[in-house]
Symmetry: C2
Subunit: 198 residues, 2 copies
């Protein structure tokens, strides 16, 4: 088992205590050895949880802003109404969907962080739901934002008033929400791949 200390061998982590003979379980931890490795892993998981919550919170904020801005974008009885254009209706629908999704996820995460582990689903299926949810909402957000850009561009070439400015603001908010969800999908994918099966 080679537990004899060889002074010519230099391991990567000098501060960690050398693994004891017969302590096989600690050798299956991939990212470190012994107690130091486990503590490092806990710290990284905690950081990931907080980062994921922060990204979802940003997504919630930007989705909510997009929702409020586009839903209140009605000025007069003629063409300056968002619901006359299918692009803006799409933007509204995806903003509502993204607000609900990120809101539910952020609430669940806050509840988890404050009370400890109390989950309805198992850890593994939750990681799947997280990753695919984030990824799909990110695709929908970038699709909605992209679809509304050309008509807004064309309107702003002619006239530049509160209606077109509000539309542009809503599109920007939706794009920022997309960025938050895309990074959140990265974090969720990392969590999905690196979870321990112990």
């Amino acid at each position: 088992m080679s537990s004899a200390k060889d002074p010519t061998k230099k391991t990567a982590d000098q501060s960690a205590p050398p693994p004891l003979a017969g302590d096989v379980e600690s050798q299956t931890v991939e990212t470190g050895f012994g107690v130091a490795g486990i503590v490092r892993r806990w710290r990284r998981e905690d950081l990931l949880k907080r980062g994921s919550l922060a990204l979802r919170g940003l997504g919630l904020l930007f989705s909510l802003l997009a929702f409020i801005i586009i839903a209140s974008n009605k000025h007069g009885p003629d063409w300056e109404n968002f619901d006359k254009y299918e692009e803006y209706r799409y933007v509204l629908a995806i903003a509502i969907l993204s607000t609900v999704y990120t809101g539910v996820q952020a609430l669940r995460q806050v509840h988890e962080l404050s009370t400890g582990k109390q989950q309805i689903l198992s850890q593994r299926s939750l990681a799947f739901v997280d990753f695919f949810g984030d990824q799909i909402v990110a695709y929908l957000l970038v699709s909605a934002a992209s679809s509304a850009v050309p008509i807004t561009n064309r309107m702003r070439e002619g006239t530049d008033n509160i209606f077109t400015d509000s539309s542009a603001a809503a599109i920007s908010m939706e794009f920022l929400a997309f960025l938050a969800l895309a990074f959140s999908a990265l974090v969720s994918g990392y969590k999905l791949s690196s979870q321990s099966y112990v």
Copy 2:
């Protein structure tokens, strides 16, 4: 070390030989035990490589079709020209980018499969380039396809001729290329997360 065979303990994989005492290295393989686990892992990696190549090939096919269809979409001197509209120019630009990206990746993969390992970059940085490339091209494709849908819808409400039909076909091809790249990004993400650091 408990290498004595206990008949009351049933392990998950009955067909694999029991790990030998002192054979510590085989215990660090996460997905199986001994030779059977390594062979299973090789088979899965081979399947992943072929699946990734097939998805990139599909992405190349659909991107190339979108590029050809939209670039040849010029009918007459007036409004029936794709380059009069920023949406279709965006579709063309992203179709070219996606064709080049998937073509280079597919060529590299075919070369790798036929000649064995001869890579310029290291395995790890290549996995990063793969994943982020697939993901970014997927976002661009869905954005371009979405941006061109509304104007095509509006044109087809009025008139329905070869110009609008070609535009719709190019958008569909771009959407199919997006699907292929999105699944390819999933495979690349899995490869990035599960590569061995041996």
